[in-house]
Point group: none
Chain length 213, copies 4
Amino acid sequence: MARSIGQLGTPAQGRELRARGRRTMRKLLDAGVETFAKRGYHAARVDDIVKRAKISHGTFYLYFANKEELFLTLTQEVADEMVGLADDFPAIEVGPKGYLELRSWLTRLVEVYERYGPVLRAWTETEIGASEFGRLGTDVWTEFSRVLIEQIRRSSTNDLDPQIAALAVVAMIERFNYYVLARQVDVSRDDMLDTLASVTHAGLFGGANETPG
Amino acid sequence: MARSIGQLGTPAQGRELRARGRRTMRKLLDAGVETFAKRGYHAARVDDIVKRAKISHGTFYLYFANKEELFLTLTQEVADEMVGLADDFPAIEVGPKGYLELRSWLTRLVEVYERYGPVLRAWTETEIGASEFGRLGTDVWTEFSRVLIEQIRRSSTNDLDPQIAALAVVAMIERFNYYVLARQVDVSRDDMLDTLASVTHAGLFGGANETPG
Amino acid sequence: MARSIGQLGTPAQGRELRARGRRTMRKLLDAGVETFAKRGYHAARVDDIVKRAKISHGTFYLYFANKEELFLTLTQEVADEMVGLADDFPAIEVGPKGYLELRSWLTRLVEVYERYGPVLRAWTETEIGASEFGRLGTDVWTEFSRVLIEQIRRSSTNDLDPQIAALAVVAMIERFNYYVLARQVDVSRDDMLDTLASVTHAGLFGGANETPG
Amino acid sequence: MARSIGQLGTPAQGRELRARGRRTMRKLLDAGVETFAKRGYHAARVDDIVKRAKISHGTFYLYFANKEELFLTLTQEVADEMVGLADDFPAIEVGPKGYLELRSWLTRLVEVYERYGPVLRAWTETEIGASEFGRLGTDVWTEFSRVLIEQIRRSSTNDLDPQIAALAVVAMIERFNYYVLARQVDVSRDDMLDTLASVTHAGLFGGANETPG
DNA sequence: TATGAATGAGATTTCATTCAT
DNA sequence: AATGAATGAAATCTCATTCAT
């Protein structure tokens, strides 16, 4: 496809950005998340993004080579948050203390999901397993699961394959968040957290399904 | 657009189809599923579908007004299967018998997912709650959950909100299937079923995490 | 930059073309030459080409991935003609017979140049030595010179390095044609051929500058 | 556009330039030649030029209204050199003395070409005969040829049309230089000069193909 | 019933030029 | 005198849909 070799606007990943430039970039990233949230990754047009960011069309390409690259940048941001979160995963006890710790960790996860959900979901849209894209996506959840696996191995009373069990739970959390955020189901945030914590605690850590009240 | 659902009104559905026509239509529907699987709904182009079906471009429009209508037709097919499946959901006991019944029901669900997963996933991509589309998608899972809710209400020993619990489980099942089918995780089908059954049984029906062996 | 993988219109190099398709392709190639002639390669827009070919914009991309690919196809055509021509280069004698044979061979060369001059000139515009482009360009003239070198080696009475001498002549022929065709100088075709033949005959093959009349 | 040639009226040419300004301008002109050399006139972007000059984008427009004006400034520089060179063209004798004088004059021409070749070549790219541009280009070579014509008329022993003969030689010189500079052929500078001098001397001035050695 | 070819609206991308500091 | 950022017009390219055979 042989695009011309010298690129005009070196998408600003490389160059040093002044305050104004950083502000513009932030505006574009935020507009990106919002647009992906509203239309999904594929349906989102660069035009939607720049309109939302109140930025001219040409400026977009000063910062990103294309929509995919903006997405990849967002991806890095989530990955960082997620890995940090996974590192903080506590040892879960069977009793009420374990339940509460689990719940409060899940709260943080839901917060990340609330901010970056559209980005996380976008991976689903994409051709699977193929691109840099897919690989990156896997990595986030994999790293995430890795930690869970350790915990389950230590805490769990049942004899499930820890890897599979962790995956199942991550899947549930992700999907459930999706349903709630996508308003396909109407549930308060607290109720969601109670349920997530409870099911996870009971299903994986041998907890006794203690819910508040 | 905006055709009634019952009578989709796709070009070829008003007409009587001869054997050859039916074969062509089947080829297109199958190619549709495969293409959605590979690229996702939005990224799938009519051109991809016809190439895969080894059908000429023009012929496509003899059978479907556009990509969406092909999708809607597939949707009908899944919906039929899913509702049938939901109707067959058994009462789940706490003991090993309950576990086995749950597992064998999940087996059938996984089979449906293996065939129609891409179609089920496609809803996710679409702007949510908006289209005829989204509504239909919701309906399948809602109907599906409705039955689960009943069962949980009857069987569950814990005091979770049955609606939320059902949703969490459906979410897990769907997502887990997705991971496995997308080969983002390498797990045998039997292991997957063991885990799904076990986690669900323990997490929702008070089962004791009995796994075979 | 990471275009989608499945291409819509496989630029028609591969596919079998029916009569109509071949006609359209020919129209595009011809319009290409004319447009390059008028505006030069770089200044030529795809839009100019399709307008001249009276073809819709989209159709262009059914046949060529972009302007460069159309150019490359033309390039193949010239290369074929030029190599054929080089193979026919006669042994040049010192006397009038040699002059006439040289002149008639040059006539054929000028005809090729009249048809494909714009394509030959376009190489000049392009980044030099770098692209597939440049290499291809070199090859045509190189192959061309190779044959001349042989002839000069056999016929020439002087002790010039044959390679350099051949190159100098090819250069002169090419450039002179360019001036004449570009109407930067007003000379009849016959006068041009007389001069080319005469200067070449004298300068390289030891001829006595015999011109008719 | 359409500024008078004598007073180019480029932003910085009306102003008095301090040492720093002159340095910046020189950097831009040099970067211009290099960029035209590398990409050709049309493909060269203002961005390429400023990057090479290590000058900011905005600064360019402090000195030149656009790319064309930078080019026109360069053009003035070459034109001056070339006209001076043409004025110095010596009368060429048939014998060795003529050969040597011709050769040493060609040496100077090649030096100019080495410095400004890209600028000279750029004319070729442009739509011919049309712009202020093209006219200027023609003028350089025309003035140049005019002198040669005089010399050939005086010196030549053959009965070629002097105008055509002169043109042919100019063409050869220009083209040959191009090939060599473009490294499409690998020849030492001395060999190139020997050949150019020899072919020209023999082909046009009745020389006896004397080469050193 | 089927096909290859053509279309054109809309999306993406480039880049000369202007602006604010 | 210089700069980084922004702009928008114009070009490229894609692809759902229609057409003629």
